[in-house]
């Protein structure tokens, strides 16, 4: 894959943004020398830019990724549920990976539920999130890089989308779970990356003798590497 770079200057801050489709194509840049001239002469000549073709910063196809991170499961269940995640992915194609991940949550009643418990001895009939095991797919929507002045380098990133399904074990309640969302991966080096995921979670959980549908959100921040 090849991407076309555009460079602009803005008040001392320099940034470069290059975005292309995952299956993007190299394109020809217009030749400044061939630009048509108007009746009014240019006050200053445009800067000359070179057209360069760079290799991809990080190649993922047919490689494994492993990652670990922190997350927070929010289901409106009166539990605070910070958690940790480990996982691995195999990129069958450059943009597409098969993924598995396991999360554990250290859940505790939130302040409101604590007050109810201390007053009445009652607790929510929701189960404190414990374990979540998911498998699914992750797709890189695109690939880009961003140069921010002062950072000393270019940020290589990928917007992603993903969908998973699996099971949960929340305080002994075992049931189906699924999530789907968007991710934003930033390569720190060609082999190291960090990623932010934002997912919507759906689960079926037994509460007060009935199975109910539970929706939640699951943001996470991961750090990983390519093998």
């Amino acid at each position: 894959m090849r991407c076309r770079d555009a460079v602009a200057l803005c008040g001392g801050a320099v940034f470069a943004l290059s975005v292309c489709g995952a299956a993007g194509h190299a394109a020809d840049a217009p030749d400044p020398a061939a630009a048509p001239r108007g009746l009014i002469a240019e006050p200053a000549p445009r800067p000359q830019t070179a057209i360069r073709v760079q290799p991809r910063f990080a190649v993922k196809a047919h490689l494994f990724q492993v990652f670990a991170g922190a997350e927070y499961l929010s289901r409106g269940d009166f539990y605070n549920s910070p958690g940790a995640r480990i996982g691995a992915a195999y990129y069958v194609l450059e943009p597409l990976a098969l993924e598995a991940q396991l999360s554990h949550y250290w859940s505790s009643l939130d302040a409101e539920a604590e007050r109810v418990k201390e007053t009445l001895g009652a607790i929510p009939d929701s189960h404190p999130p414990g374990w979540l095991a998911l498998v699914g797919a992750r797709y890189s929507i695109g690939y880009g890089k961003l140069m921010v002045g002062g950072l000393g380098g270019v940020i290589h990133f990928e917007p992603q989308t993903f969908v998973h399904a699996g099971v949960h074990d929340h305080g002994g309640d075992v049931g189906p779970s699924a999530d789907a969302g968007l991710g934003f991966l930033v390569f720190l080096t060609p082999r190291l990356f960090t990623r932010i995921d934002a997912a919507l979670v759906f689960e079926r959980e037994s509460r007060s003798g009935q199975t109910v549908s539970v929706w939640g959100t699951l943001p996470s921040l991961s750090l990983g590497g390519m093998l």
Partner: protein, 543 residues
């Protein structure tokens, strides 16, 4: 938007607040006025065994203090609720717990859930928590104490407590707070039964008391009740079968054949006699055959068949034959007898008047057997048909008979013997009592009472010597010189064919009461309570 929703920590799903698995629920406090104790009970949803991760606290003057179930005055702690839903806890304190200013006396402390306040207590005061019903076992060999104990069991709380028991004879009520001096308590085992002190008092009336054993060796209330010995009875089952009489088989063959051929005559005579002897002799009773008579003897008969040639003036020696029959029946002890008279005549023609007259004379003579016998004359005519129209009334003249080789002859004899012989008789005099006891047993039980519990068919109690029906009461005294018995009416059967005979029996259950027969309650055979054996028609049950 997804990112925003995610980072805003949104979520949804139906959530209800419910008691935690370890939150004390249904907290209740019962104060027993009788025992001066307070029983605190609660239940939790969890069925996990009580362990170090869960404890309970009870509120006292200084605040919540850990519940030490080992200090419960009577059995406490946790156990599965009897309804199977969660765990139930009980803690028993002496005195009255001041529930008025301690509406939430119990709370739980769990290693994960923390402190969980219990629900508001439901308090009540009950005047009595332990009561007793007692009874003697059959034959007074054991005394049972049925304890109703609201401390030990109040669904779903089951915390059995140990008891001590005692008993003492009395003539009055059992209302004192303590047993008389010198009466000590003994542990009551799980069966609730214990042997009474022997010998039993003449009145058979006692006070039985039980009391729970507290863990702190303090005082405990007693529950007592009055108990009476049960009637000492013996149950008998008697089946009376009137004697069955099987009649002996008495028979005689009279031959009166017309066969011109001598050899066929001889064969016919032999066939007839052998077949009759074969079947009549096969019955498993005494069989007596009177001499066979041949009326058709004519030395001048043409063709040489002198033993199968009828003469016109032939006759029977009726009086001699009747006398012979009467002599035979007198040799048997059986009262009801039958005389089988077989007459064979192969000519399809009326009988001569000389013969019919002698036959009539014979049958008439047999109609008056010697006393005490009764005699039935079973006259069987073997003839093609027309002979039946003359002479005496034959008992049987079917099927038509042609000759000795008649194919129906042998099957007819065989069927008759198999289905009819021997004749059986059974009779019982309804005015003659059937004894329930032998004279020796009656003398031994003199003075006891007897009653008939059940009889089929219905019967009437009676004395037997002399016969005297008893009408006044459900029970009567046994008189040693006049054994008890009963009058019963049974169907009379006289000379019934063996296959039709149905044995008549009388089935009697009766009881003899030897002690505590009057005003001592018992449980009847039907399960109902009865206050006095002597005045009730109901017999005592086995247990």
């Amino acid at each position: 938007m997804l990112l925003a929703a995610s980072w805003a920590c949104l979520g949804c799903g139906e959530v209800h607040f419910v008691p935690s698995p370890f939150t004390p629920q249904n907290v209740e406090l019962i104060y027993s006025t009788q025992e001066d104790i307070s029983i605190v009970r609660w239940r939790i949803s969890s069925t996990a065994p009580l362990g170090s991760d869960l404890g309970f606290q009870i509120l006292d003057d200084t605040g919540y203090q850990p519940v030490d179930f080992s200090r419960s005055v009577f059995p406490g702690g946790g156990s599965m609720c009897s309804d199977g839903l969660g765990s139930c806890f009980q803690y028993v304190l002496r005195g009255r717990y001041p529930v008025a200013n301690r509406p939430n006396p119990v709370r739980a402390v769990h290693s994960v859930y923390g402190t969980l306040p219990g629900g508001r207590v439901a308090a009540q005061t009950v005047p009595q928590t332990i009561s007793l019903a007692s009874f003697f076992h059959t034959n007074n060999d054991l005394v049972y104490a049925n304890i109703k104990d609201a401390v030990a069991s109040a669904d779903p709380y089951v915390f059995p407590r140990p008891y001590e028991r005692t008993m003492w004879p009395t003539n009055g009520l059992c209302v004192s707070d303590a047993p008389p001096d010198g009466v000590s308590f003994s542990p009551l085992d799980a069966t609730g039964g214990f042997p009474p002190e022997a010998p039993l008092s003449d009145s058979g009336i006692y006070c039985v008391a039980v009391r729970p054993i507290p863990s702190d060796a303090g005082a405990s209330a007693i529950a007592q009740t009055r108990v009476e010995t049960v009637p000492e009875v013996t149950t008998f089952d008697q089946t009376y079968v009137p004697p069955i009489e099987q009649s002996p088989v008495i028979y005689q063959i009279v031959l009166d054949l017309e066969i011109p051929l001598a050899d066929r005559c001889a064969t016919a005579l032999q066939t007839i006699e052998s077949l009759v002897d074969k079947y009549m002799g096969s019955v498993q009773v005494p069989v007596r055959k009177l001499p066979t008579m041949n009326l058709a003897t004519n030395p001048n008969a043409t063709g040489g068949a002198t033993n199968c040639a009828q003469t016109s003036g032939r006759t029977l020696p009726a009086s001699d034959m009747a006398e012979a029959v009467k002599q035979v029946i007198a040799t048997f002890p059986e009262t009801h007898q039958q005389f089988h008279f077989f007459y064979f005549n192969n000519l399809n023609s009326p009988l001569p008047s000389t013969l019919t007259d002698s036959l009539t004379a014979l049958f008439n003579a047999l109609a008056s057997p010697p006393a005490p016998y009764d005699l039935a004359t079973l006259s069987w005519l073997f003839n093609p048909g027309l002979a039946a129209a003359t002479g005496p009334t034959w008992w049987m003249s079917q099927p038509p008979w042609q000759e000795a080789d008649d194919p129906n002859f042998e099957p007819t004899l065989a069927a008759y013997v198999q289905q009819t012989l021997p004749y059986e008789s059974q009779s019982h005099d309804p005015n003659s009592p059937v004894p329930l006891l032998s004279p020796a047993d009656s003398a031994q039980d003199d003075g006891d009472l007897f009653k008939i519990c059940y009889s089929s068919p219905g019967s009437q109690a009676a004395y037997t010597s002399p016969p005297q029906p008893l009408f006044s009461g459900p029970s009567w005294p046994i008189v040693g010189t006049d054994p008890p018995g009963y009058l019963v009416t049974l169907p009379t059967q006289i000379s019934v064919p063996v296959t039709s005979f149905v044995e008549a029996i009388a089935d009697i259950d009766f009881q003899i009461c030897s002690r505590f027969c009057v005003d001592h309650p018992y449980l009847s055979t039907s399960g109902t309570g009865v206050s006095s054996w002597a005045s009730s028609p109901l017999c005592a049950g086995a247990d």
